[in-house]
Amino acid sequence: MFGRLLWKMLRSNRGRLAVALVAVISGATVISALLDLQFDIERKLTQEFRALGPNIVVSAKSGGQVVTPGATVASNSADLLTESVIEHTLEAHRTPEVVASAPFLFVVARVAGTPVVAAGTWLDQLAKLNPTWRIQGDWIASRDDADQCLVGRKAAQQLGAVRDARIGLDYLGRHAQLRVAGVIDSGGEEDNQIFMNLPAAWNLTGEQPYISLWQLSVSGTSASIGDYAAQLGAALPGYDVRPIRAVTQAEGSLLDRTRLLIASMVVLILVLTALCVLATMMALAMERRKNVGLMKALGGSIARIMSLFLAEVGVLGAVGGLIGCAAGVALARWMGERVFNASIAPRWEVFPLTIVLMIVVALAGALPLRLLGKVKPAVILRGE
């Protein structure tokens, strides 16, 4: 009989309840979308910040160095980074995920008499390490490719180097001949550089196989990146390991502010939804005084009568929450594409959370129904 009564009540008040349902659906839609974003925002923002480039730099204590002709690069070889140190360290520290990493050896070489900074590196990592760089031509897929190079936009202009052109680098009588695979536009100082195979750079200098700098792009929050940098620092006591604060702190700050904004909006929407339900329930409570008076006269306890009304509101919250969740998935996807330029996958934990929130909000909005508990059947049945 409970279900039968509930169904009849829902049907008989469908007009008024539809208004409250629309409010609950609207609230649930925005809340579930925001919660999807809230849960996904860390990953999205982290991805966004990874696009800004490397976020950890490792160098010898004496600092990253540019090798100039005739200069002695380091007085103590124990302080020098080597490729094997890098590979060993990467192997030992797998988490959080290292998206890309590349060692650099900077050399001031000459191209047709013009001095230019040549950077020996893992060419296959450049695109992943610097997602914002644009290229005319092709990235170099193999780090063992010693015949090709990438040239910065300004250097290419200065040297008259275009894609597929061949350029010759000279360093203290040593020579390297390279084909230009692509011209890079980084928007930074890298536009003045030439990127070449690391062993080819060592051959050009004829020096020990050392490395000036090691750049890493590590996924995770600013805190986890800081932790990872500390781990590397502990593992490489002779080296200077620095998270790039500008990136990691901006990320942390933006995350905190975004979370606060989303939490504030969720609370605001919950309050507004509750107010809308409250207004509807207030009107319904007034309409139902007569029926409640009759039910009381027939021996209905207030608990039994109120359980009917609360179930009605609970159904309202659950149905509104469910429909809103589905709409929220679409809204979250749209917001993800528009704001983050990436798809946001629905988080299943958002569904029960949103539905429970909507039920709680609907029940909170049903507070006016408490007035029905004070209805005096004798007064109501007299028609007052």
């Binding site: 009759l294 027939l298 209905g300």
Partner: protein, 221 residues
């Protein structure tokens, strides 16, 4: 055998207005009592107190061994569900429930529902072909017969009818009064408020109230 209803020095005041002023009488089980009197004489107040819808200011009103004046809110609720069957002048049906569901509603608040029993009760009052009709789809007489079935469904000790024919035309009035007579003949105890002397004459006894006091008690001819 103790009377089913014992009313002793019953008083009810609404602010400065004294609706009942020292009313005392008894009702035996199986009696049909007509409560009569002009408007404002306290008839409905008396019925409401006996039905546990209201509480007296002083005095006692014992129904089937239960002093209504001593019951709390929960006790009054159970008392209404278990011992009283109400028939109101204005029918008081839930508009979105069918005739059958309106009867089952009383079962639901009493204990558990039994649809077959509810059907039987409606068939008894001549509404076997109106079970699934909403109140708005029934005539006045049919609407009044639904509360009669509803009042009987839980086998109450006392039927309280507050001007049950007050809103009916002559034909439907006859139908309802015939039903009341049948119920009386079956042994139901009935207290019925009415203005009409000819209806009051159908009862075993007539109790007249005036200004909240017992004016006259007399057996019908």
């Amino acid at each position: 055998m103790a009377p089913l209803v014992q009313i002793d020095n019953l008083r009810k005041e609404f602010g400065n207005v004294r609706a009942l002023d020292g009313v005392s009488f008894n009702v035996d089980s199986g009696e049909w009592i007509a409560i009569m009197g002009p408007s404002g004489s306290g008839k409905t107040t008396l019925i409401n107190i006996l039905g546990g819808l209201d509480t007296p200011t002083s005095g006692c009103a014992i129904v089937d061994g239960t002093d209504v004046a001593r019951l709390d809110e929960g006790g009054l609720t159970r008392f209404r569900a278990e011992k009283i069957g109400f028939i109101f002048q204005q029918f008081h049906l839930v508009p979105y429930l069918t005739a059958l569901e309106n009867v089952m509603l009383a079962q639901y608040f009493h204990s558990t529902t039994d649809e077959r029993e509810a059907r039987t009760e409606l068939e008894r009052v001549g509404l076997g072909d109106r079970l699934d009709h909403l109140p708005g789809e029934l005539s006045g007489g049919e609407q009044q017969r639904v509360p009669v079935a509803r009042a009987l469904i839980n086998h109450p000790k006392l039927l309280l009818a507050d001007e049950p024919t007050g809103n009916l035309d002559e034909a439907n009035e006859k139908l309802v009064l015939q039903l009341m007579s049948e119920l009386h003949n079956e042994g139901h105890t009935i207290l019925m408020v009415t203005h009409a002397p000819e209806i009051g004459a159908l009862a075993d006894r007539r109790i007249d109230l005036a200004h909240g006091r017992l004016a006259q008690v007399k057996a019908s001819v």
